[in-house]
Point group: C2
Chain length 140, copies 2
């Protein structure tokens, strides 16, 4: 059975919509892997976020596509693969992820200090670099 996903909206604050789309254990991590680590295929997601189950990954990719956060297309160089790409809506999540990372880095002992320092040093520059990389690798 193929599930349908629709953004059944709770009323009130727009945060409800965000939580509807992103408020689970894996969605934001998948988006981070696409945005920061350059993951684009199923196997790359599986190995980036070790621990995610294959059925959950398939489900989250489907949801993210339904929400317009990612698109998918066949890989021209390998017919077995599919390539997942962030949409404009997806790359617009960069400030959200950045703030989350900075928050955690400020209050927890955390990994990847190089990335964090890059964010802290010049947030705008970091975001611009993320967006530029996205534009370069996205055939639009």
């Amino acid at each position: 059975m193929t599930k349908k996903y629709s953004a059944k909206r709770r009323s009130g604050c727009p945060l409800n919509a965000s939580v509807e789309m992103l408020g689970d254990r894996w969605s934001l991590l998948i988006i981070r892997d696409m945005m920061i680590r350059g993951a684009r295929t199923y196997q790359e997601f599986l190995h980036c976020d070790e621990g995610i189950a294959t059925n959950i990954l398939a489900d989250r990719l489907r949801k993210l596509e339904a929400y317009g956060i990612i698109t998918t297309e066949p890989d021209p160089s390998d017919g077995r693969k599919r390539i997942y790409l962030l949409t404009a809506k997806g790359i617009d999540l960069a400030p959200v992820l950045t703030e989350m990372v900075l928050w955690a880095a400020g209050h927890e002992d955390t990994g990847n200090q190089a990335l964090v320092q890059q964010m802290q040093k010049d947030k705008e520059k970091f975001l611009a670099a993320v967006r530029r990389r996205w534009e370069e690798t996205t055939i639009s």
Copy 2:
């Protein structure tokens, strides 16, 4: 049975830590209710986020306290009530929530346009106001 919550850390990016603490359907909404709407008691949370079950609310409040995002103390004016307050770590989530709201507002049809416009117009000013309100209402 009373559950224990500890931040079992996944390695790598600090985003893992944030998702560990906030990656569910309700935590961010509870924090928003405290931060923006001034909710401080169990009943206020129940009525702010209509739909949250009482057991889930109790669980999330326990988790958020375990993570150091909120504190709780008895209400001096009513011994039945408990008052929940954001810690410094909790109020530091304001930029995260703000970016999430702005993201959703930019890509979805959303409620509370007044709040959104306030955020868009001057993000720093909005965040400063949130923090000031927190300082005023928090006995530290």
